[in-house]
């Protein structure tokens, strides 16, 4: 069985590996066939192309900053809202929750048009704000945290906390956040990756190349006549590393998270 799992792992991981392989081949040899399976020697050349064309470090830091801020905000606001929907009985709870879920079903492909108008009106073009603020308490995150907290936060624990003198907000900080770690880990991963990979929003709201994020910067290298494919591959490969790092950092929480809870009846 271990062999089967390992074979599967190879299947899943190969394309990821392949990006790094391609990143080390010169641009005019990347599309060669049969495809290269091992590293080439074009890495330095590709790095030169990449850095000459885009302010990679600046873009990297922009991507990192926007993703981190988005993630932290989402973790806070969505866990808070999820706690409310999961553990409180209040008037309108069901309808309000249904509303939140319904907004997830609205295909957002065309939202960018009116949204752009709003951002111009607010004066938020060329800032991080359009990419960070509207999604702060996203419906998706609320959905996730509600589902998760409904089943993993024992009511007795909350009551015990109240008896101990914790305020409602104190419950949130002292009990909910620690116990919600597996769910928050998932939300953190999704939010970070989603923010990192977002292209159209960054393109439209961050027109300055030095202020924009990696996907937009890398698209500059995407042309049919110039030989930039190597630089594009290297830039892409490097941009995958933080995603893996974030996954590793967060996913420890998923298996290390609670079992059995703190209350046994």
């Amino acid at each position: 069985m271990t062999a089967g799992l390992a074979a599967l792992a190879l299947l899943f991981a190969f394309p990821f590996w392949y990006v790094f392989v391609l990143a080390t081949w010169p641009g005019d040899r990347i599309l060669e066939f049969p495809p290269h399976l091992f590293f080439g020697t074009g890495g330095a050349e590709n790095l030169a192309i990449l850095l000459a064309r885009v302010p990679y470090v600046a873009n990297f830091l922009n991507s990192l900053g926007i993703a981190l801020v988005s993630t932290i905000l989402a973790l806070f606001f969505c866990t808070m809202a999820g706690f409310a929907f999961a553990k409180y009985r209040f008037r309108g709870r069901d309808r309000l929750y249904a509303f939140v879920i319904a907004t997830l079903a609205v295909p957002g492909f065309l939202n960018i048009v009116p949204f752009y108008k709003m951002m111009v009106a607010f004066g938020w073009i060329n800032t991080w704000l359009p990419l960070v603020v509207p999604g702060m308490a996203g419906a998706f995150g609320i959905f996730l945290m509600t589902q998760f907290l409904e089943n993993s936060l024992p009511d007795e624990l909350l009551d015990a906390g109240r008896i101990d003198g914790l305020t409602e907000f104190g419950l949130l900080l002292r009990l909910v956040f620690p116990l919600a770690r597996p769910g928050m880990a998932i939300l953190g991963i999704i939010t970070f990756i989603g923010s990192w990979n977002s292209f159209t929003s960054a393109l439209v709201f961050l027109p300055d190349l030095a202020k924009t994020t990696l996907p937009v910067a890398l698209s500059v290298l995407n042309s049919r006549v110039d030989n930039n494919l190597g630089g594009l591959m290297l830039g892409t490969a490097l941009s995958l590393l933080p995603l893996v790092a974030v996954f590793l950092a967060f996913s420890r929480q998923i298996i290390a998270g609670l079992t059995a809870g703190a209350v046994k009846s």
Partner: protein, 421 residues
């Protein structure tokens, strides 16, 4: 009373126009939205001594993305009716939705006088940027005359002459001789063409305009049916390698010298030389398409979105004029990124007469220039993109042999009519 009102009206108009007249003394930073390698070329041009001497007070800022991202962004900001870059680049395939769709400044009107400024630009390209009610919404800055690239060594070995094919039937006949089994393993490994789809739109103005006649799509019928017949014939002749464009095997086929011909725009020569098959230097040549077919496959235009404030339009227009209508800019761009000039007066320049090393010393630019001068004008319609996509599907189906040409044509026509409802 009436007279003074008229006076004020005129004065107001004059002021408004004056705001749009270029003031060489004001320092302006012009923003340009472009894609691909245009930024590289234009940066060089706008930093040149010639430009700086003419416009010392203009500076620049570029916003670059890949081609699709750029046009998506442009559509988005135009649809949102917001100000964006002063100058935006448009690729020829994208121009139809903007031409009629509006959102661009009429460069033919005062104070721009685009028609006069563009009188030496390739006529078909100017026509592509003109709406049915006569507005000139962009200026062409480069074009891509379609030619037949071919491997001379393979042609010689097969005993065919690809230089003056009279029609596509002759091409197919030559193609049969060019398709063979080189290594004797029983399977063909050299082919005339990568895929019949390569000629799916070239005979139809390269897919740019001319889709509608008298308001009806795909008319006159014979013209379109002929293309479907052509791709079917090419597939039946067994002379294509069935390779998807821009994939690994496709690229490798060029590197290995397994493809004998490629009908495409002039920029393809640049791609061949730069990264697709640099090792094949000296082996490729350029010929006219069979029957001296004149078409364009590619081309860039520059426009000014109408959300740009009138005060900024003047400087933007100067930049566009410089890039499109001055010899210096056109030649510099050509040298930098192989973008063939739209300015026909440049075709007499000595650079057009230069032998090009990659093509074995052939003076390919003269051919490009000659094709460019003859490309026919075709009317562009806002529904062109819909038609193009549906047409490509019809071409694909016919190539696969799933439908015959007549059926595919009828279906495509019906679908187009239903979709443009």
């Amino acid at each position: 009373m009436k007279r003074s009102m008229a006076f004020f009206a005129l004065a107001g108009l004059g002021l408004a126009l004056a705001a749009q007249v270029f003031d060489p003394k004001s320092k302006v930073e012009v923003t340009l939205g472009v894609y691909g390698d245009l930024e590289r070329a234009y940066t060089a041009v706008l930093a040149s001594a010639d430009f700086k001497s003419k416009y010392p007070n203009l500076s620049f800022k570029f916003q670059t993305a890949d081609m699709n991202g750029h046009h998506n962004r442009l559509s988005t900001v135009l649809a949102a009716h917001e100000a964006t870059n002063d100058v935006e680049a448009l690729e020829i395939r994208f121009i139809s939705q903007f031409v009629e769709g509006g959102g661009l400044v009429d460069l033919g009107a005062q104070p721009f006088g685009g028609r006069a400024a563009g009188r030496d630009l390739a006529k078909f390209a100017m026509s592509n940027a003109t709406t049915t009610d006569g507005r000139l919404v962009a200026l062409p800055v480069d074009i891509a005359p379609a030619v037949l690239f071919y491997r001379k060594d393979l042609a010689d070995a097969a005993g065919v002459n690809l230089d003056n094919l009279a029609n596509w039937d002759e091409y197919i006949a030559a193609g049969r001789k060019l398709t063979l089994d080189r290594d004797g393993d029983g399977r063909k490994d050299q082919f005339a063409i990568t895929h019949p789809g390569d000629v799916g739109v070239i005979p139809l103005n390269g897919g740019n305009g001319g889709w509608f006649s008298g308001g009806k799509p795909l008319e006159p019928k014979d013209r379109f049916l002929a293309v479907l017949d052509l791709v079917a014939k090419i597939r039946k002749a067994g002379i294509d390698a069935d390779l998807g464009a821009w994939t690994g095997p496709w690229t490798q086929a060029f590197k290995d010298g397994k493809v004998a011909t490629m009908p495409l725009g002039s920029w393809f020569g640049g791609a061949l030389k730069t990264w697709i098959a640099p090792e094949s230097k000296g082996k490729w040549r350029v010929a006219y398409l069979p029957g001296r077919l004149y078409a364009a496959v590619g081309g860039t235009y520059l426009c000014i979105p109408d959300t740009v404030p009138p005060a900024r339009r003047a400087a933007a227009w100067e930049v566009i004029k410089y890039l499109a209508t001055t010899k210096e800019a056109q030649l510099a761009t050509f040298k930098a990124i192989d973008a063939f000039p739209a300015l026909t007066t440049v075709y007499g320049d000595k650079v057009m007469d230069e032998p090009v090393e990659y093509f074995g010393g052939q003076k390919v630019r003269k051919i490009y220039a000659d094709v460019a001068m003859h490309i026919p004008e075709a009317l562009v319609s806002p529904n062109d993109n819909i038609v193009l996509s549906i047409w490509m599907r019809a071409v694909g189906t016919v190539i696969l042999g799933k439908k015959d040409a007549a059926t595919a044509y009828e279906e495509a026509r019906k679908k187009i009519l239903a979709t443009i409802e």
